[in-house]
Symmetry: D2
Subunit: 301 residues, 4 copies
């Protein structure tokens, strides 16, 4: 299982404050024993990636590594310098036989778009050819690695018009493409007779809007966890090394989405319901809407 | 341009003697200025790979790295310990946009087979889908990287019956599959209207026989260089650090194939004619035969 | 905290059977939650090293990496090929500000000797100059990294006569040098007024004999754990992926020393008492003797 | 032999324009055949480092790698984002037995100071202890690697008052410390009886001033080459990929110091005379002064 963090705010955050200095940093810490599933490997040992935007309407920047984050001096030095209003961060544990290589590290980017995934597409090898054959050349040739996650990004791009050439996208367009991506994957998985369950927590951004999903191909199981929090400032307590979300005023100046709550104030964090798409608009509004397909189950919420 | 070396002998060579100690080692040295084409990068800076077999009828072992060989302590220490009768070595310079990643380092292996390539398939992206769609699932899913070379290996494997399960192959079978691979690539390149020239110096082994080609998709140009030498012993002169092929007796106990002559005795080296397939049999016989397809040109030899 | 494993037997073990295939491999697995102390990092994420000997009276071979073992394809492929009668393995978690670099990975070697350390020298920076100044040039210049562990090895070497030139050492000589190393460190730590506690679990071998210590600079605390087991065969159960020590006959053909028991049969494992030196002789005899210095405390056992 | 580049300007340069995009980039290109000395390795294969400052009176940022620059995606992506008025860049070829490790990559930093070196201290191992023993604890413990260059930096720091705590230094103070560093090295080399020649092209900055030397421990030989150029703008011609220094007006808005001329206009470049110290003041004035010690030779200029 991997982990992801998505940060969007009106004022820039120093990457070090978000990622490298906190004692409970999502990319530096090891996982929480209590939530441990796989006994054979630590959660974040197979590499990490961070992506951030500095200026609007330009491509973001990505730093990935197959080395764990905590030994990466380049990352630690950079994080002390880089400020951003929109950050994606991902730690990775390989699933199955996927190689530990930089080509397989999240996030990926294409033009101004950036993508990451927490989960896996069950039986991916049974729909891989189909997916590749459905792609326009531009997306087909952009694929550098072997993961289901990168292929899902290519499929998402395939739902958009000229994704490599445009500086921005409306959030409605991104959300629509996201939902079509999930619908298409479901259709192919059904056709291939895959019965294992896929976990499709995807996140995408063009640097302005963010769209992410908490989704599972099941009508009764729980999706991989996903939480969000918003407030006036998200910072790290210097003494305890712990994150804290301030709510000094009514405005929402920061939105954080993460695969697990990052602060000890559990009340800061709202569970994103299973099979939901969440949008953070350029103006920092947060919309959640249910994904009402055949896996929709109002009682599960 | 890359470089390759292929060594087969009746008695084991210490990898250090072949690869790391010689002053003019194919993987440690930098390129020869005189043959330099691309002014922007040294020849062997994008990684290297070595493969070797220790016991008959078992899979070989591969050591690859995206770091240049000369700074690789693990390689240098290992090379002082490992002995082998059959060694593949490859240094790589990326072409185009191919990522420097371990998944893209030669040689590759599948079951007991090992493969490397010096050259490139022109317009590969125009036949990539076709190639992938022609592959049986086993080969399709074995691909870990993005290179034309690894895809050519998958196509070669596709020409064989159960390549992952068999301990050995007759050299005739390997040669036939090699020729069919080239013929199939040519057919697709023609259909796709690719007019640029491909350089297809391939080498494959099952640990017993070796088959390699010097081939170009042109009836008048020269293929990428390929030489071979044979004798009773291939060793390194301790003082000069240079390779030397001894011919102490009539027997051929060693065969070396390399993209450039490795010793100063130019007479030791025979040019493998353009568009030729060379076989080294398990008993160390060397057969050369012309590849008589539409690019065959008897006057070019 | 780090972890170490030391394996010595009369018949060679395939490294894969010892290190990479077992589900509970010391270098592939993550740490045991129950023993977890440091909540911020997984135990084995800062690199690993393995050392082994193939022939008597020759230097061993070392493979180290700052990447975790589980993503290291070169290691996994090599481990399927290499057999040895004497293996050192170490996984590392950095302490303090020590850089994650290959120069800082255990084991180290010098001539035919190999060394690793589990623990740390408290207040090392306060005795570092002194230690360096005491070294003969040969040892002083051999130091490539910054760790206390590598410096302790240099000090150990300094206690020996021509350590770089000799093919073998008597176990008595190695044990004597080990005890003098600890005594010297204690003397300097006292002079420097260091009161923090050092954990000095050292292991050294010349490829024939093994000497290791379980030691703490305290008369009442427990040293870092160290266990040993012996029997006729140490192997891995194919089904469960767990190690197992067989005791088919009276002979001791295998001795394993490890920082924690490796099999579920707790009765297989003997605790090495705190402040003890253990010797495995070339003939596989195991001797334990107490280190009777000022930290000796018979009641602690 | 290594290579260095030092860039200082009044307006920020995008690192990509300086370092990664130009066809003849100092860190991406391979060496020039004509100047080639060592036939066994390419010039820039043992790693590289870049350092830059973003804000005045703060520490710079450093990105180093043992992988060659041209395969480093993180570098290439970052260089498209980072702008700076003061950049240090260094490519490295190991000399002797020095390990290829990130600890051994230039530049180094300490507080707000940054340092790099092109050349080597001959017989360094014969003065290493002496140098280490002369250092105050703060500098002694800051050393992470094994190179002569990093030790020279520690010695330089030792000449300054509280180098780790101060935001800035006058250029006079930096120059004085630089000259004292060279004088001290000379004294020790003499005492140790080292007769081989040292090449001491050092560069240091606090983010405001730059001090660098072209120096050799010989009264008749030439030092390693060092050039400088100044003008109104240093940029890259998009078409040719070559650097160009514009001199649109009288002002000197850019100063570049490099181990070889970076543009084809040879007249743009002034040779820094052998055994000279060059200062670039915060206001972009350039001062050269001879180093009049026992190696001073007015006829050599």
């Amino acid at each position: 299982m991997c982990r992801l963090l998505l940060y969007k705010s009106n004022s820039p955050v120093l990457l070090a404050d978000l990622l490298t200095r906190p004692a409970h940093s999502i990319i530096m810490q090891s996982f929480n024993c209590k939530l441990r599933v796989d006994l054979r490997r630590p959660m974040n040992g197979d590499g990490f990636g961070i992506g951030w935007y500095d200026e609007p309407r330009t491509a973001g920047c990505i730093f990935t590594s197959t080395l764990p984050a905590w030994g990466n001096l380049n990352l630690q030095r950079l994080a002390e310098k880089v400020k951003s209003r929109l950050v994606f961060a991902h730690v990775r544990a390989t699933t199955g036989d996927t190689a530990t290589s930089e080509s397989n590290c999240h996030p990926w980017q294409f033009g101004n778009l950036m993508w990451m995934h927490n989960g896996n597409i069950a039986g991916f090898e049974r729909i891989k050819r189909r997916l590749q054959n459905a792609l326009r050349d531009e997306m087909y040739h952009s694929i550098q690695g072997t993961t289901d996650s990168e292929h899902a990004f290519a499929l998402f791009l395939n739902m958009l018009d000229r994704p490599g050439e445009r500086a921005e996208f409306s959030y409605a367009e991104l959300r629509r493409a996201m939902l079509r991506t999930i619908a298409q994957l479901n259709e192919w998985l059904d056709e291939a007779g895959v019965e294992d369950i896929s976990l499709l927590n995807f996140a995408v951004t063009d640097g302005q809007s963010v769209v992410c999903t908490r989704y599972i191909t099941s009508a009764d199981k729980e999706a991989a966890s996903l939480f969000y929090s918003s407030g006036s400032e998200f910072k790290t307590d210097a003494e305890s090394g712990q994150y804290r979300m301030s709510k000094a005023n009514r405005r929402e100046d920061v939105v954080v989405v993460a695969s697990e709550p990052l602060t000890y104030e559990r009340s800061d964090w709202l569970v994103i319901p299973t099979n939901t798409v969440l949008v953070v608009t350029p103006k920092m509004n947060v919309h959640l809407s249910p994904i009402k397909d055949k896996y929709w189950n109002p009682r599960r919420q």
